[in-house]
């Protein structure tokens, strides 16, 4: 018997600029989490995601495949860490999926799909949080910048 699956948990809509947004007390009753960001930032910068308040970005290696006006490029490796794809003033769309976020036997994998007008273009990114703790909070912010007023970020729980 199919189970109702996708449940909106929270939405944050900024009425003024803000350097970070955070979802706390995330329920542990789902299998995956999805964050949908329709955001702009004051300048074109990379974003950071801090999980459970952990700001040690060296535990967040990523692999990036990115297409823009200059062609398709890729970046990765053990020392390539610490940010998710870029935002700028044009209100791009980013989706993040946190698979098996309550598992205590796996590092957390984060699938990032991003579309921003401008030099960063469209991107797919696989990121890890190299910790086996269950995810209870997620904080997002543009590095050294602010999200614009009107930015909207939603959190969904996905049953499994």
């Amino acid at each position: 018997m199919p189970t109702d699956t996708l449940e909106p948990l929270a939405t944050i809509t900024l009425t003024a600029i803000d350097s970070r947004i955070e979802f706390t007390n995330i329920p542990q009753t789902f299998k995956h989490l999805k964050v949908v960001m329709h955001v702009g930032s004051q300048s074109q910068v990379f974003n950071t995601v801090f999980i459970n308040g952990d700001t040690d970005v060296t535990k967040q290696p990523f692999a990036l495949l990115e297409g823009a006006s200059g062609g398709v490029t890729t970046t990765g490796g053990a020392s390539t860490a610490g940010w998710i794809t870029a935002t700028n003033s044009t209100f791009g769309l980013t989706e993040l999926e946190f698979l098996d976020y309550t598992s205590t036997s796996k590092f957390k994998t984060i699938q990032v799909r991003n579309c921003v007008y401008g030099s960063t273009g469209a991107a797919y990114q696989a990121t890890q949080w190299e910790t086996t703790s269950a995810i209870t909070s997620i904080s997002l912010g543009p590095t050294g910048s602010n999200y614009l007023a009107g930015s909207q970020i939603s959190l969904y729980g996905i049953a499994g």
Partner: protein, 202 residues
């Protein structure tokens, strides 16, 4: 959502409402257009995972999606594939696939006649413990027998061994979909997890 307090409702103020909602916003019981159809998490190494009896969902769902966290028991370096077959067809050249991926450099390759679809990747056990590759794979119009099956996968992992890719593939058949089999080279490790979701038809 919070209900309005009794002090502002008709019980204490004798205010009359023409609606049973009495000034409250309507509550819509949650109804998802996106539903979990099946899932499994491996308790021990296993060569493949099959979601079967998929015809049971044909009346209610248009598109299917698989989310998978996978790791291979193979201990040599690099990554293995996350392969897909339909309806148990394991031989011949009836599948095609292509991929655009980054792994040290950008590569595009594929096959137009294969015995499986390379729908994603599976990290091997040479990677540090607890690392699993992640894949999200969509199967569009899965039950439309006027179209051949087409899939798209976003797949990757990070660290010393890294990979970020978009895969596409298909099955040269218009047969009604009955099963999906996921496999890798050798076995999946314990704790690999597989979830099958359906997007409801309008």
């Amino acid at each position: 959502m919070p209900n309005k307090s009794l002090s502002r409702s008709g019980l204490l103020t004798y205010q009359k409402y023409s609606s049973l909602l009495a000034g409250n916003n309507p509550y819509f019981p949650f109804s998802s257009d996106y539903a979990l159809l099946a899932s499994t998490e491996l308790a021990s190494p296993q060569a493949e995972v099959t979601f079967s009896n998929l015809g049971d969902f044909a009346a209610d769902y248009d598109h299917l999606q698989i989310k998978a966290s996978t790791r291979s028991v193979l201990t040599d370096g690099g990554v293995s594939g996350l392969y897909m077959r339909f309806n148990g067809e394991a031989s011949g050249t009836n599948y095609w696939w292509h991929r655009l991926y980054g792994q040290n450099s950008v590569t595009v390759n594929g096959s137009s006649g294969d015995s499986l679809i390379v729908a994603g990747i599976t990290v091997k056990s040479a990677a540090p413990a607890n690392i699993f590759s992640g894949s999200v794979i969509d199967i569009f119009d899965a039950y439309d027998t006027s179209k051949k099956q087409v899939v798209r996968g976003f797949t990757g992992m990070a660290g010393a061994t890294w990979y970020a890719g978009q895969h596409t593939g298909g099955w040269n058949s218009t047969s009604a979909l009955s099963s999906i089999t996921l496999l890798t080279d050798n076995n999946f490790t314990a704790n690999c997890s597989f979830y099958l979701y359906g997007w409801k038809a309008s």
